[in-house]
């Protein structure tokens, strides 16, 4: 076996293109088990918990308050509650897509192949974002439909034509995607799995608790701009909480967190040694 068997391939005018890097990241993301486990977990949480919460809600209605007395519950929101748990799986996956490369040294291969670096971050965010959005959207749809079926006995279930329902379904998937992209950005910024996961869930889950401890006039002013509080308003279709942001401004605030993390990650990726 000698190198003379290495035929010269047509080098020609080959150059790195964003499309090529995207294809590479697509191969990468689908060739890891952690991707499939995380996505499966997210699907189970969204669909399973959505159906379960809906069933429990219907049961409670049947038991006590009777039909019509829905105690103001948002049937759509009830069926999408699984999103809150699924953000754990999506967040962890978003971090791992990046820090998995740093912990194994793969990042050096990736960046040696694409020395301008930015295309790698763009491709990773794009491929991850699309995969998460598509899987999440299918799940929120399924969770909504199964959940509404489970709530049929309340005669107050929602349908796709219920105002805000479609927004909540698509928005729930968008919220998960944005939390995932926040995780990707933090992965590039922190580069360490444990550190990035801790930071992510510190911002998403712990910050609202800390904000609640602030003195009264400030407490909600801060809390409503945190990614969880702001972004999850997109799941609300009725009885809007006046102390929270409205659905669209809310999800926009969450998007801002993701953008800031990604831009920060891109700057650090360019500046730091690999």
């Amino acid at each position: 076996m000698t190198a003379t068997t290495i035929a010269r391939s047509d080098v020609g005018a080959a150059r790195i293109t964003q499309a090529g890097v995207v294809r590479s990241e697509w191969i990468k993301i689908r060739s890891l088990r952690s991707t499939w486990f995380s996505l499966l977990a997210a699907v189970v949480m969204i669909v399973g918990l959505g159906t379960l919460f809906s069933g429990l809600h219907a049961h409670r209605v049947e038991q006590g308050n009777g039909p019509g007395a829905q105690i103001g519950l948002d049937a759509t929101q009830v069926s999408l509650r699984g999103v809150f748990l699924a953000q754990l799986a999506i967040g962890v996956l978003g971090v791992l897509v990046i820090t998995g490369e740093y912990s194994t040294g793969m990042i050096r291969s990736s960046l040696a192949a694409v020395p301008h670096r930015q295309p790698v971050l763009i491709a990773k965010a794009l491929v991850f974002g699309v995969v998460v959005f598509v899987v999440s959207l299918a799940s929120t749809f399924a969770g909504f439909l199964l959940g509404q079926q489970a709530q049929a006995s309340t005669h107050a279930q929602a349908s796709l034509s219920t105002p805000g329902a479609l927004r909540a379904i698509v928005g729930g998937a968008a919220y998960l995607t944005l939390i995932g992209l926040l995780a990707v950005g933090l992965g590039f910024l922190i580069r360490n799995t444990a550190g990035a996961i801790a930071t992510l869930f510190g911002i998403v889950l712990v910050a609202p608790i800390l904000a609640a401890a602030l003195p009264e006039p400030y407490s909600n002013d801060v809390a409503k701009y945190l990614p969880l509080n702001a972004g999850s308003q997109i799941l609300v279709t009725m009885n809007f909480d006046p102390t929270q942001l409205r659905p669209w401004p809310g999800i926009a605030v969450t998007a801002l967190y993701s953008v800031v993390a990604l831009v920060g990650g891109a700057l650090m990726l360019k500046r730091r040694d690999a």
């Binding site: 000698t2 190198a3 391939s9 150059r15 191969i27 194994t104 793969m106 990042i107 050096r108 020395p115």
Partner: protein
Amino acid sequence: MGVCRVIEAQALTKRYGPKTAVDDLSFEVRPGFVTGFLGPNGSGKSTTMRLLLGLDRPTAGRSLINGKSYVDFAAPLHEVGALLEARAVHTGRSARNHLLAMAATNRIPRSRVDEMIGLVGLEDVAGKRVGGFSLGMGQRLGIASALLGDPGVLLLDEPVNGLDPEGILWIRNLLKALAAEGRTVFVSSHLMSEMAVTATEVIVVGRGKLIASGSVAEVIRGAGGGVVLVRTTEAERLAALLVAAQKVERLAPDVLQVSGMDSAAIGLVAAREAIPLIELTPQQATLEEAFMEITRDAVEFHGAELSGTELRGTELRGTELAPSGVGEAR
């Protein structure tokens, strides 16, 4: 030979905080040869490789490949193939998927991936996760990855690490064949014996500084050219006359070991003074000896000097052991 500098390091310097990993390092690597990049562990070889590949940014100086900075290549894998130390591969991915992902970035066809898997002999395990690979299989995957774009320049960091004798022979022949095709092959190693048989040219570094460079023969000569063994009936008188020598040791009543003077010069002195010589034998130094000689002061971690009493204890700390056979700490 005009345009013969494929890899150029120009006053390359890299500092990490207070530690200088690469210190004002300049060298050139020519095509058509295997050039060894030698140095003890921690001497800055891997850092230099990373600087050449644009992975680390130099504190000062610059490096060029084919006259360009690495980051300016439109499709770097077609120009430079690299085997990075410590297996820069995700352990959860199969070998084939790793290569496919690498190939996609630089628009290298799928067929080339299978070709390279065949070349390095990984057909049977190409679908298995890299995490389960032996060190040798990992190195073969690294070689496949480096050759993907059919590059004219190869930068290989410690390619024989962890390989069995058959694998070492394979790499050795592969490197020579690649160089014979006119490619530039730059290989780092801390194994002198390996470079002595593989490399034509060597660049020796210690503590980030250039210590020696040139052909293997030149580097050996530069290290003192070995020693000459002299057997004579008048050892004492001859020893006193060899003023040009660096060192004259009397190994036996009739045997002198002379360093820093070649056999011709010693023979002439003896002839002039009519001292009978019974034997005059140049001792050929090996690259390994030359390396030990020239890097003596540049070794990061000296071997612990073990006396008999110290050997009783079990306090041998890893870092104090002689820097041989162990992968460069990262």
